[in-house]
C-alpha cells in the first residue's frame, strides 16, 4: 500500500511485517523514531507476539538481542553513531556467534565534536565486524532491505546491518509502498535457527578458541560473506519478482554504458548524484554512477565489471579514514586491481553537511578534466582552515580546534542546508 510517511515509520512497519519476537533498543538520534514506532505497535497490539525491551544502553540492547537470537527467536534492534560504538564489542560478538540479528543503523557522525547529523562514520567503523552491511538509497529501499535482511541473515546465520542516512532518510516523509503481510510472509519463512539454547538438546555456545582453530573460524566467517555475494542478488531478484520493484542487490549502476567517468557512492546521496549525471549526460558528458548497496560483503567482481571500461572513478564518501583518505575507495581500488584508470576520493557530507547538485557538478567537471587531487574534501572552507592552521602554528596552546572554528564561523545552521 502506498503511503506518504516518515522514513522511520516505514521502517518500523516494514520490520513489524517481518514478525520479530524480541526488539530491544536504547534511544539515540536519529534512530529513535524507528523504535518508538515499533514500541507503539507492540503496546497497541499492532505487532503481536513480540516483546519490546527498553534497555539501559546500546551495549545492553545488542546483548539482549544476542540472548534472544541464541534462544531461537527473530530479533531486531536499531542504533546510530555513538550507540554503535558503545555496542561495538557486542557487534563483533553477535557475528562471531553467527546470530542472525538485523539492526538498522540510522547513520550519523561520530564525535568529538559531538554531532547528530548524517555521515557514514558509524557504520564504517564496524565494517570489519563480520556483519553484512547493506546501504539504502531511498526509504522504500530501506524498508525492502529489512525484509531481505532477515531472510539473508537467517539463511546464513549472520547478522545484517541495514544502513540508512540519518535525518535524510529517517526523518524524511516520502511515498513508501508498504508491502502486505501476506507477501512478506511468503517471502520470509519462519525463523529456523541453526543453533539454539534448548534444554532438550543442550549445547555450549561461545567456546574459547585458541590459535589451533581461530584462523579457520575466521576463514569460515569470510566464506559466509562470500556466499552472501551470491545470495544477495538472488534474493533481490526473488524480491523483485514478488514485490514488483528493484531493491537491494550488490550494486546499482546508473547510466554507466560508455561512461568515461563513473561516480561511486553509498546511500541516499546516489539520488543527487544521479540527478547530476542526468544533467551532465544531457550536456553530452559520458558520466555514470554506481551505488554500492552491499558494502559487506564488498562486491569486488560486480564493481570491476561495471568500472572496467571507464577512464576514471570518483568515489564519493561520507566518511573519512583519518590519515589516509577514503574507506570505500580502498575497496573500489581493490576491485580495479590491474586496471589502469584514474581514481579520486572525495570526502563529502561529513557531519550532515549538505551535498548539493552544484557542488557535485563542479566536482565532476573537475574530475572530467582530471583536475582533482587524489583526496578532495568537498566544499572545504579553506580560508577557515588556513586561518586555524596559522593560529595553531603560532601558539603552542591553541585551545580546542572545534571551538575555535565555531567561533570564527559564528553560526552553524546556515551551513547545513
Amino acid at each position: 500500500m502506498l503511503r506518504q510517511i516518515e522514513g522511520s515509520r516505514g521502517i518500523a512497519e516494514g520490520v513489524a511485517l517481518c514478525r520479530p519476537q524480541v526488539i530491544c533498543a536504547y534511544p539515540i538520534t536519529p534512530q529513535t523514531h524507528i523504535v518508538e514506532g515499533l514500541g507503539e505497535m507492540v503496546k497497541t497490539g499492532g505487532l503481536p507476539a513480540c516483546e519490546f525491551i527498553n534497555v539501559e544502553s546500546e551495549f545492553a540492547a545488542l546483548s539482549v538481542a544476542i540472548g534472544s537470537s541464541a534462544a531461537g527467536v527473530r530479533t531486531y534492534t536499531a542504533t546510530s553513531s555513538q550507540g554503535l560504538l558503545f555496542m561495538a564489542e557486542a557487534v563483533y560478538n553477535a557475528s562471531g556467534l553467527g546470530l542472525p540479528i538485523v539492526m538498522t543503523i540510522g547513520n550519523r557522525a561520530i564525535g568529538a565534536p559531538i554531532n547528530i547529523w548524517n555521515d557514514h562514520s558509524d557504520a564504517m567503523s564496524m565494517r570489519d565486524a563480520g556483519w553484512i552491511q547493506l546501504y539504502a538509497e531511498t526509504n522504500q529501499e530501506a524498508l525492502d532491505l529489512h525484509v531481505q535482511a532477515f531472510r539473508l541473515a537467517e539463511e546464513l546465520s549472520c547478522p545484517v546491518m541495514v544502513c540508512m542516512d540519518g535525518f535524510i532518510l529517517t526523518h524524511a516523509y516520502e511515498r513508501i509502498d508498504v508491502p502486505s503481510q501476506q507477501d512478506v510472509d511468503a517471502y520470509l519463512p519462519p525463523f529456523e535457527p541453526r543453533q539454539v539454547l534448548d534444554p532438550a538438546e543442550p549445547v555450549t555456545i561461545g567456546a574459547m578458541v585458541g590459535p589451533e582453530a581461530f584462523t579457520e573460524v575466521r576463514y569460515l566467517a569470510h566464506h559466509k560473506q562470500l556466499r552472501a555475494l551470491d545470495r544477495i542478488p538472488q534474493l533481490a531478484a526473488e524480491f523483485a519478482a514478488r514485490f514488483g520493484r528493484e531493491s537491494g542487490g550488490l550494486i546499482r549502476p546508473y547510466r554507466t554504458e560508455g561512461a568515461e567517468t563513473i561516480v561511486v557512492a553509498l546511500g541516499s546521496v546516489n539520488g543527487t548524484v544521479q540527478e547530476v549525471v542526468d544533467e551532465m549526460r544531457a550536456d553530452g558528458v559520458a558520466i555514470g554512477s554506481v551505488g554500492i548497496t552491499s558494502f559487506r560483503p564488498f562486491p569486488l567482481a560486480a564493481l570491476r565489471a561495471v568500472l572496467a571500461g571507464a577512464r576514471r572513478v570518483v568515489v564519493l564518501e561520507k566518511c573519512l579514514a583519518v590519515g589516509l583518505g577514503g574507506i570505500v575507495s580502498d575497496g573500489v581500488r581493490k576491485s580495479l586491481s590491474g586496471i589502469a584508470l584514474n581514481g579520486y576520493t572525495v570526502i563529502a557530507g561529513l557531519g550532515g553537511r549538505a551535498i548539493t547538485r552544484s557542488s557535485l557538478r563542479r566536482l565532476f567537471d573537475d574530475a572530467g578534466r582530471d583536475a582533482l587531487a587524489q583526496v578532495t574534501f568537498l566544499d572545504l572552507n579553506t580560508d577557515l582552515i588556513e586561518h586555524e592552521l596559522e593560529r595553531e602554528g603560532s601558539a603552542r596552546r591553541s585551545g580546542p580546534t572545534a571551538e575555535a572554528l565555531l567561533r570564527r564561523l559564528g553560526s552553524v545552521s546556515s551551513r547545513i542546508g
Binding site: I53, F59, S63, S69, A70, A71, P199, M208
Partner: protein, 331 residues
C-alpha cells in the same frame, strides 16, 4: 519435656549427605545421579572454589526446575576453564557472549523463552565478581530494574583472577592483588573502597537477593531453590575462595570460605522485595585473624605495624554481626 526430633542431632548434620535422611531431604550434591552440570575435565586450578560453587548452584537449579535451565556466562575464569575448544564441561544449554553483558544476554534469552511459550525454561546468568560488580554492573542493574526473569549468580573470588589477580570493586580492604601490592604506607587494597552488590541488589527491590558460601552447601542449595520459586529478577552472591589469588592452600578452599562466614566478614542473608528477610547465624564465631592468616594476600597484616589494620577488619566483621544479626543466643 517434649522430645526433639532425633534427626536433628544425627551425625554429620552439616555434611553433604546423610544416610539417615529420607532421600528427598538429602542435598542435591549427595545424589549419586546428580546432574554434574559442570563435569570433570575442566581446567580450573586445584581446589577452585568457583568450579565447586558453580556446580553446586547449577545442579541445585536443575533439580529445582526439572533440568529446564539455560545458563549465560560472563567472560572470566569460569568461562575459560570450562569451555576451551574443543571441549566443554557444561551439560546444560550454555552461552558465553562477553565480559560485561551476561545479565543482558540472559534478559534476551528469558524474553525469547516467553515468546516461545517456554517460560518453564528458567534462565541463569553467572559471572565472577569483575564481570558482575564492575564491567557487567550496568547490564546487571538494568536487568534488575526491568525485573527480568533471570537469576544472576555472582561467584565472588574478590579480584580479577583470570587476568592474574587484579583488584576489583569486590576486593576486600588490605588484600594484596597485582594492582594493589602490599607496599607503601597503606599496603594492599585501600580501606573504605569497594561496593556491596548484594545490598545494591536489595536496593533495586527485586523479588529475591541472597548471599551464600561454598562452605555451607545446604544453605546454598536452599537459596538456589528458593530463588527458583520466584519470578522476576533474582540475585545470588556466592563466596568462592581462589587458592591462586588468595594465596591459600588448595585443600583449604572450604575451610577459608567457612572462616569468612564464621568470622562475620561474609554475612549470609536473604532479602525479599527489598527487605532483609533472614540471616544465617554464625555457628562458632572466630576472630578475623583465623580467616586472614590462611591467606598470603593478607600476610602483610601480620608483619609489625599491621595490628591497627587487623583491628579495622575486625571492626568490619563486628559491624556485620550487628547489622545482620549473625550471633544469636539459641532460644
Amino acid at each position: 519435656m517434649a522430645m526433639q526430633t532425633v534427626k536433628f542431632y544425627q551425625t554429620g548434620t552439616f555434611t553433604v549427605g546423610n544416610r539417615l535422611l529420607a532421600p528427598h531431604e538429602r542435598s542435591v550434591q549427595a545424589e549419586a545421579q546428580r546432574a554434574n552440570a559442570l563435569t570433570s575435565g575442566h581446567r580450573a586450578c586445584q581446589g577452585c572454589g568457583e568450579a565447586l560453587g558453580a556446580r553446586y548452584a547449577i545442579d541445585a537449579a536443575m533439580r529445582a526446575t526439572g533440568d529446564r535451565i539455560v545458563a549465560v556466562n560472563a567472560t572470566g575464569c569460569l568461562e575459560v576453564f570450562s569451555t576451551p575448544y574443543p571441549e566443554t564441561s557444561w551439560q546444560v544449554p550454555w552461552i558465553h557472549s562477553l565480559f560485561g553483558n551476561a545479565a543482558a544476554v540472559a534478559s534476551g534469552v528469558a524474553a525469547a523463552m516467553r515468546m516461545k511459550g517456554r517460560d518453564d525454561v528458567r534462565v541463569i546468568a553467572q559471572g565472577g565478581d569483575g564481570g558482575t560488580t564492575d564491567i557487567g554492573f550496568g547490564c546487571l542493574s538494568g536487568m534488575f530494574e526491568r525485573n527480568d526473569d533471570v537469576l544472576y549468580i555472582c561467584y565472588d573470588n574478590e579480584a580479577y583472577m583470570n587476568t592474574g589477580v587484579q583488584r576489583s570493586s569486590a576486593t576486600p580492604p588490605a588484600a594484596r592483588t597485582a594492582t594493589t601490592p602490599a607496599m607503601g604506607a597503606e599496603p594492599g587494597n585501600v580501606f573504605g573502597t569497594g561496593k556491596n552488590v548484594p545490598l545494591i541488589a536489595v536496593a533495586h527491590q527485586i523479588p529475591y537477593v541472597a548471599t551464600a558460601s561454598v562452605a555451607n552447601l545446604r544453605d546454598l542449595e536452599y537459596k538456589v531453590t528458593r530463588a527458583m520459586g520466584f519470578r522476576g529478577a533474582r540475585y545470588l552472591h556466592i563466596h568462592v575462595p581462589c587458592p591462586l589469588g588468595w594465596g591459600s592452600a588448595p585443600a583449604d578452599t572450604i575451610r577459608v570460605a567457612r572462616l569468612a562466614v564464621e568470622s562475620g566478614l561474609y554475612p549470609l542473608f536473604e532479602a525479599i522485595n527489598g527487605e532483609i528477610a533472614s540471616s544465617t547465624p554464625i555457628r562458632r564465631r572466630v576472630p578475623v585473624t583465623d580467616y586472614l592468616r590462611l591467606q598470603k594476600r593478607f600476610a602483610h597484616l601480620f608483619a609489625p605495624g599491621g595490628e591497627a589494620r587487623v583491628a579495622h577488619i575486625q571492626a568490619i566483621a563486628d559491624r556485620n554481626v550487628v547489622r545482620f544479626d549473625l550471633v544469636r543466643e539459641p532460644a
